[in-house]
Amino acid sequence: MSTAIFTDTMTVFNRELRPLRRDPLAIIFGMIQPLIFLGLFSPLLPDGSLQWFVPGIVVMTCLFSTSFAGSALMAEMQTGAHERMLVAPIARSALLVGRALKEIVPTFAQTAIILLIVTPFSFELHLPGVVLGLIILAIFGVGIGALSYSLAIVAEGQDWLFWTVQQTLLFPMLLLAGILLPVDHAPGWLQAMSDCNPLTYIVNAERALFAGTIGADAAWGLVAALGVAALGLILGVRAMRKTV
């Protein structure tokens, strides 16, 4: 039974990856907004800020692309492809986990693209830190992807509901995590909100790791990523079971 769940999950994962493998450029379309921030916002920052700014952009890219993930499921719920899979004798959890795991692939590819772009511009690459940072980001991406799929299932084909919730949550999360500007000197209430935002811990961890510091910030980032992933997968699997 458990090997069947694993096989099902891998089948779903491979199926999800197929369009991406055929059309890798789609990975770049998913990161146009972060690239615009990188090109048009980072030059406004004081010299030497790139090391601080780039990890935030990496997290932003991951958040953007994984939070969009649900739209693909929504499309398949409307065409009937999802229904066809629900009638197949596969574990409901595999339908969600396989999709969510796919989010690791664009996350890795997009981070690599950003690092390729910025490394010539006085950005110091600390490889062990970056690898650890990617692992945390991948876990976080799976969680956000799972939450996005849950939202798609709950929205039940009402596109506007999905997009309204996704867009409403996206920017406060970004701003409160201090991705564009630091929140160190923010008023107390904004600080408090920032402390409640899991994204804050991810961004702090990525900044520390990309600077080569493996310590408490990284550990808190891992905890936050695991928390988001657990929440996303639990909600997602529950939502998927309910659609039956």
Binding site: R18, T79, A81, E83, M85, A88, V244
Partner: protein
């Protein structure tokens, strides 16, 4: 395995729409034997699709039970899924995927290993004449091609029982004929039990050995199309006369001859609804000639399932739609 492929007891499904409860399916009791080809016929919103969604484990019943392919839909949905094929109203293949790869994935979902899934996919591609299009993105295929791909996906594991939900909706007449031929071939060559829903009378009439007529969530008739037509509708004979008095003579004569027939005289014509119309007509015309009521024209129309539905409900199937249930189904299905 029992001879019964499907057996339901009090199968019921309600939907909540706001504060109202819509009774989409009301206590269905029926069974379908192995090897039957059955059509569930009824207007939009009659509860056909809801019934199908319960039998295919997509929707839990509000009350009642059903065993499909020998397994209970509520307690053993996985076994039910393993044994049935399902071709839904939409397109089973993802629009960003390619046909052949979707077929192989589908095979993997049903437990085939990679080699077996690939072999089976290629077999179906050949059988359904899909070779030219399965390398393309599904989104670029025509409606008819996608439908053939849907059929291939539904057959990947050679199910002994196949469900089709409104299979020919949205297809042009040629593709519809193609589809019907494929379904019938599957039924005759492999003995697959087939259950389909339709609101096309011609489709139910042409394909099904047994028609279950559903209206307002209940079964209102269940028989072969021929029996339904003979027993519930009968043939329609229309005679026209040059003189109104002849119409009256004819009406009186037919009423004496066939007390059970429905006889409706109008200004210049007479409509008779009765069984065995073609056999009755020649002698009837001779009799009327003898009585001086000379018919100017005579026509016999064989009954359709629409006449059956009309006889059962007083409504024509073509115009009939239970919109409230339909909306509820759409909301839940979305």
């Amino acid at each position: 395995m029992t001879a019964k492929m499907i057996e339901t007891h009090g199968l019921t499904r309600h939907f909540k729409v706001g504060k109202e409860t819509v009774e989409a399916v009301r206590g269905l009791d029926f069974h379908i034997n192995k090897g039957e080809l059955v059509a569930l016929l009824g207007p939009n919103g009659a509860g056909k699709s809801t019934t199908l969604r319960m039998l295919t484990t997509l929707l839990p019943p509000t009350a009642g039970t059903a065993a499909v392919a020998g397994y209970d839909i509520a307690s053993n949905p996985r076994q039910v899924r393993q044994h049935i094929g399902y071709i839904g109203q939409g397109n089973g293949a993802g629009h960003t995927q390619r046909g052949r790869e979707e077929l192989i994935t589908q095979g993997r979902f049903y437990g085939l290993n990679k080699k077996a899934a690939t072999a089976r996919a290629d077999e179906l591609i050949e059988a359904l004449d899909l070779a030219a299009v399965t390398g393309r993105n599904v989104g670029t295929l025509s409606g008819g091609q996608r439908r053939r791909l849907d059929i291939a996906m539904g057959l990947i594991h050679e199910p002994e029982l196949l469900f089709l939900d409104e299979p020919s909706t949205g297809l042009d007449p040629q593709n519809r004929a193609n589809l019907q031929e494929q379904i019938q071939r599957l039924h005759t060559t492999r003995g697959t039990t087939i259950v389909l829903t339709t609101h096309y009378l011609e489709e139910a009439d042409a394909m099904a050995e047994r028609v279950i007529v559903v209206d307002h969530g209940r079964i209102i008739a269940d028989d072969t199309a021929q029996n339904l037509k003979n027993n519930l509708a009968g043939d329609r004979i229309t005679l026209t006369f040059g003189e109104a008095s002849h119409t009256i003579i004819a009406a009186e004569h037919v009423t004496r001859l066939r007390p059970q027939a429905a006889v409706t005289p109008t200004a210049g014509s007479l409509t008779i609804r009765t069984i065995g119309g073609p056999e009755l007509l020649p002698s009837l015309l001779r009799d009327l000639d003898d009585q001086g009521a000379k018919a100017q024209s005579a026509e016999v129309v064989r009954p359709t399932l629409d006449d059956v539905f009309l006889a059962l409900t007083g409504r024509s199937l073509r115009e009939s739609t239970n919109t409230d249930v339909q909306n509820a189904e759409q909301e839940v299905a979305a």
